[in-house]
């Protein structure tokens, strides 16, 4: 099965700064992957390398044949009508599903004759999405598609996106610095920070293998089945750890709880940069 997206030690440098380095990912087709990280982490760089806007400094990137892209800010020609935008899509693309694009926009109540500049933010995002989907891509990349949308518009945008995934078996990678909206719609997650990939994999697996451990204060020593401690907080008599586990925690001293995706992402992003480079299994700090 060809991966939807595969990168091997992908990197991009500007002058002396690495915007992305040592990025090796494999994303299977038919999944919705969240690319999460703070601003400047390298999310846009990665997406631009995949679309071909940037050439890699190191490494390789391979994708499925047809890639669709919605850039940051969902750029559109504001003086064009919605109709014009669709005509542009038809004329510039070898493969174009005009009927489906029109049907989708009609279903959303977006008038074809209105200039794009006079649509609401949510409607503009939907037009940009319709344009990208009109190409019938096998892989769709979206750079911060929800950033400037109000909650209702975000919900509608994700609804349209999920419907397309259900109908067409599309693979999706969408970046965001806000994790809250993505937990329902993504089944894969990649965490990026300071130009490096911290974590990547199936969302259910990731949530299953990370636990919050609470117990009496302890600063050294190993805990059976803990592969790595991501975050440790020590109060006077208590320690709280967020750890990646390889199996059940049987030590009765520790109370084990699940971690939310948000909590997990925050913990990873809080890792100091020195820890990012270490690949070895770590014990309690």
């Amino acid at each position: 099965m060809t991966p939807a997206l595969e990168t091997l030690r992908l990197g991009r440098r500007y002058g002396r700064n690495w915007a992305l380095q040592d990025c090796s990912l494999t994303i299977a087709p038919g999944h919705v992957t969240a690319l999460v990280g703070p601003n400047g982490a390298g999310k846009t760089t990665l997406l631009h390398l995949v679309t071909g806007f940037l050439t890699p400094t190191t490494g390789v990137v391979r994708t499925l044949a047809r890639v669709g892209f919605v850039a940051q800010g969902q750029p559109l020609y504001r003086s064009f009508t919605v109709e014009d935008t669709l005509v542009m899509g038809r004329r510039l693309n070898r493969t174009w599903d005009d009927e489906r694009a029109r049907k989708r926009l009609h279903g959303l109540g977006i008038p074809l004759s209105r200039p794009v500049g006079r649509l609401s933010g949510g409607q503009q995002a939907q037009v940009a999405l319709a344009l990208a989907l009109g190409r019938r891509p096998e892989l769709l990349l979206l750079d911060e598609p929800l950033a400037s949308l109000d909650p209702l518009a975000r919900h509608e945008f994700l609804r349209t996106l999920m419907e397309s995934v259900a109908e067409e078996g599309l693979s999706v990678v969408l970046s965001s610095h806000d994790i809250a909206d993505l937990a329902r719609v993504c089944d894969h997650v990649v965490i990026l920070s300071a130009s490096r990939v911290l974590l990547g994999g199936d969302l259910a697996d990731v949530l299953r293998t990370h636990k919050r451990l609470t117990g009496p204060r302890r600063e050294n020593g190993r805990i059976a089945n803990v592969e790595r401690v991501i975050e440790a907080r020590h109060a006077e008599r208590q320690s709280t750890l967020l750890a990646r586990v390889g199996g059940p925690i049987l030590d009765p001293a520790w109370q084990v709880e699940d971690v939310s995706l948000e909590g997990l992402v925050l913990a990873y992003l809080a890792l100091p940069s020195t820890a990012l480079i270490a690949q070895r299994v770590e014990v309690l700090p």
Binding site: V70, Q72, P75, F80, M88, G89, L92, A128, L131
Partner: protein
Amino acid sequence: MIWLTWRQHRAETLVLGCILLTAVAGLVLVGLAMSHTFDQLGLGTCTRPASGSCAEASSSFDRQFAPTTLNVTVFLTLLPGVVGMFVGAPMVAREVDRRTHWLVWSQDVSRGRWLLVKSAGLLLLGVSAVGIFTVTLTWTLGTVFRLGTFSRLEPFFFDVQGVVPVAAAVFALTLGMAAGTLTRRTLPAMLIVIVLFGVVRFTVAQARFHYPPDPVTVAVPLSAGPMIPAGAWEIGFPVLLDPQANRVETRSPCAVPGPVQPACAGYRFIVAYQPADRFWRFQAIESGIYVVLAALLLALTAYWVRRLTV
């Protein structure tokens, strides 16, 4: 891609078209008026230099049409720069500024084809607009040259005749495209176009004085008639020599135009000029300069566009 280029620049094409239409209509009216007045004043029968009633008719004609002639010639001198500024500069700059280049390049069109079709379309627009205006102006100014007092090679008129305005427009457009690709913002690009276009245009106009072949230099004995042939472009100032070939001050009584004094027999003027028939050769040289510059700028634009990472 052709459709997209048209649709993107539809508005400015229509605006330019309207301006052009009005301007051409105006020029035609002026041209007809000039021709009519010329015949009315009987200027066709006058010989050079104008004297007596001819001088009066000539001044009358000048008074009537000199301001208009000035205005339209200035307009066409500036038009290529303006086109370069408003049509060429935003071509890449506005797309990058608004991030729509990511929109277009996400579709099935390469950067190369995008640039090729867009620049070809805009060059066609600029060339057509400036070309039509030049042709109309040339026709309008035809009457002025029948006066015999002006040369088509003169700086003021040379800039707005023949193919030079079109070549200048091509240069200005490609300058705008290159500036826009470099700055990636429309306003700075427009500024660069005004400044650089003005500087280059001025420099080239100065260089015109040195276009090969060298000016014709002749010794003209004092007489009441014209010193240079009709339509020729005088270079520099005439030098007065006495019979011994010494330079004479221009304050000398012999330098005064009019009937020849007997004391000034043997005096002659050394005068240099470019004959009228060199007009097209000079047009070719100057247009060539602009076209070569334009080609370099276009190549630079293509190179920068390929490397654009923003």
